[in-house]
């Protein structure tokens, strides 16, 4: 059923925020073809048509907890694990002024 092109993989990689060169895109396109070919047999489960989907193995609904103030994670410890921090905040590359 599926026929995955390099352009499709490039689009998916962009959506997934994964930089890939042409070799990687071609390699992945071929692998996805094989994997999707195998998983496509799921369409043969024709008796699934009228069945409700399962999103979760154990049904749980409206789980709430008391609205209590509890200590947050230590800010300095959290920022110590970040790739870049400044003035007690995460430092990010520019997000405005792109193009």
């Amino acid at each position: 059923m599926p026929e995955i092109t390099r352009e499709q993989v490039a689009h998916l990689a962009r959506l997934s925020r994964l930089a890939m060169d042409d070799d990687e895109l071609d390699g992945l396109a071929a692998q996805l073809d094989v994997i999707l070919g195998a998983v496509a047999q799921i369409s043969a489960a024709t008796d699934a048509a009228d069945v409700p989907p399962t999103t979760h193995a154990v049904p749980v609904e409206n789980v709430t907890r008391p609205d209590l103030v509890v200590p947050s994670l230590n800010r300095d410890e959290v920022l110590a694990g970040a790739p870049a921090a400044e003035d007690g905040r995460f430092r990010v590359p520019r997000i405005l002024d792109v193009e």
């Binding site: 995955i4 499709q8 993989v9 998916l12 990689a13 962009r14 959506l15 997934s16 925020r17 994964l18 930089a19 890939m20 992945l28 692998q31 996805l32 094989v34 994997i35 999707l36 195998a38 998983v39 496509a40 047999q41 799921i42 369409s43 043969a44 489960a45 008796d47 699934a48 048509a49 069945v51 409700p52 989907p53 399962t54 999103t55 979760h56 193995a57 154990v58 749980v60 789980v63 907890r65 994670l73 230590n74 410890e77 959290v78 110590a80 694990g81 970040a82 790739p83 870049a84 995460f90 990010v92 590359p93 520019r94 997000i95 792109v98």
Partner: protein, 493 residues
């Protein structure tokens, strides 16, 4: 005591409680064992000798109580540990020291367990051989040229190589049970929601479940009891008493128990040697007084494709958090590159091939136009698989099958063939999709390598696994004249 590393967890705790050995001596014996053999096995990504000895000293000072006080454990590197490196087997988290403990980590500390370090795994738990670790593969202690299973190959190998009597693994499609099967150890995936996922780095949230790895069924039960139970920090955690797993492991009686052999979990894809050991173990269960019947679960043949749509879909969403901002790696931040460029470059450099493959596959399965045919259909099939279980449990108390279709294969044999690797999980995936508990325990050898038998039970009947496992293990030990691991060749280090 002659060799503290050969004791079971129960024996270790007793030796400490009776004053035959101190907790520090026990911890040191295991750290020494790791120093000798782990160069060859590579079960550990990080050994926390200082933390382990400090916790053991607390035990010797009488500050730790409980049935596992002073017992060493190896923790899969997907469970976060405050101040101790946690990578999930990925470059993208190299050097990260989490600012908090997982609930499992906390409960282990409270139970007096001594955490020796963090174990190797397929990156983000995606794999069946531990070859997809960014830090190199783990070897199977039975044969160092072979895989220890995956994703929790490090935890299983640590236990099989006597580097720790206990380990924690996580099981999304078989990552506790398949490694247990191919290393001759015991591994249990508890009921989904039975053990808190708070602090378990998420792969596929509707399937992930942490559980025990051990050398005996009773040891696994004690560890299961120590980490299980409701946790308000995990909204999917089940608010009900933990099933009586320790009591069940001690029962050693299966008289009148109805055991269903799943017809669909045999035949094509299962090695003859695996099938033979399985058939013999089922016969033994019958001799022990169980009633054995064949049951059919016709939708299990769709379990593998359903899993390889659901798990990558959830992974593609979960792994979005590795954004080069809050933790881990950042690549290409030269002041000119945009956030999106830095993010894409970081994820390209930080994720391995299998993780990228699954993220892209999941993104595809969730895309508009394909959603109904793939993800939507997989979720419906999940319902059908659950119905198969429910109907099978009307005529059987537990279901059994081989745990893995093959014995441990050579390192490198399947690493370039994703589909062949995925088929390792043929028998284990159904329980993840259903949510029920399942165990793998040693059933014997084929070609000199361990074979595992899987027991599956209804949700929140984890005790049934231990009842069957405990009885079968005792009978098999009688037959073999001791545990299967005793027949493993000495490690060549």
């Amino acid at each position: 005591m002659s060799d503290l590393t050969r004791l079971t967890a129960v024996e270790t705790a007793a030796a400490i409680a009776d004053g035959q050995a101190s907790a520090v001596e026990v911890a040191q014996a295991h750290l020494d064992r790791i120093a000798v053999v782990d160069g060859a096995v590579h079960a550990f990504l990080h050994v926390d000798a200082k933390g382990a000895l400090a916790q053991a000293a607390r035990g010797d000072a009488g500050e730790l109580t409980g049935p596992l006080a002073g017992v060493p454990l190896a923790l899969k590197d997907v469970i976060v540990t405050r101040g101790v490196p946690t990578t999930a087997g990925s470059r993208i988290l190299e050097g990260w020291r989490p600012p908090y403990d997982a609930t499992v980590t906390e409960r282990l500390r409270t139970a007096g367990v001594v955490v020796l370090g963090k174990t190797n795994m397929d990156e983000f738990a995606m794999g069946s051989s531990t070859e997809h670790s960014a830090y190199g593969p783990t070897s199977n202690p039975w044969d160092l040229t072979r895989i220890p299973g995956g994703s929790g190959g490090g935890s299983a190998a640590a236990v099989a190589a006597y580097e720790a009597p206990l380990a924690i693994g996580t099981d999304t499609g078989g990552s506790i049970r398949q490694p247990a099967a191919v290393t001759g150890t015991v591994g249990v995936k508890p009921t989904y929601g039975g053990v808190s996922r708070y602090g378990l780095i998420a792969f596929s949230s509707s399937l992930d479940q942490a559980g025990p790895c051990a050398r005996t069924v009773l040891d696994a039960a004690l560890l299961h009891e120590a980490v299980a139970g409701h946790d308000p920090r995990d909204s999917t955690s089940i608010d009900a008493p933990v099933p009586p797993v320790v009591e069940a492991a001690r029962k050693r009686d299966v008289t009148g128990l109805r055991v269903g052999v799943v017809k669909e979990l045999s035949g094509e894809g299962y090695e003859p040697g695996v099938q033979e050991r399985f058939d013999e173990a089922v016969e033994l269960l019958q001799e022990l007084g169980a009633t054995v019947t064949e049951v059919s679960c016709p939708h299990f043949r769709f379990a593998l494709p359903a899993y390889y749509l659901i798990a990558p879909s959830e992974a593609s969403s979960n792994l979005a958090r590795f954004d080069s901002v809050r933790y881990g790696l950042r690549v290409g931040d030269d002041g000119a590159a945009s956030l999106e460029e830095v993010m894409s470059a970081t994820r390209a450099a930080g994720f391995g091939a299998e993780v990228k493959r699954r993220i892209v596959l999941g993104t595809y399965a969730l895309s508009s136009g394909y959603y109904d045919a793939y993800y939507g259909q997989a979720q419906k099939v999940r319902t059908l698989i659950t119905r198969d279980f429910t109907s099978a449990f009307e005529s059987a108390d537990v279901l059994v099958s081989p745990a893995a279709p093959t014995v441990a294969f050579p390192i490198g044999a399947k690493v370039d063939d994703p589909l062949a690797m995925y088929r390792q999980d043929l028998a284990t995936i159904p329980s993840n999709l259903y949510g029920g508990p399942a165990m793998s325990l040693p059933a014997g050898l084929s070609e000199g390598l361990p074979v595992g038998l899987q027991v599956m039970a209804p949700t929140m009947r984890d005790d049934l696994l231990y009842q069957v496992g405990g009885a079968l293990e005792a009978a098999l030990h009688d037959r073999w004249g001791g545990p299967l691991l005793a027949s493993a060749p000495e490690l060549e280090v």
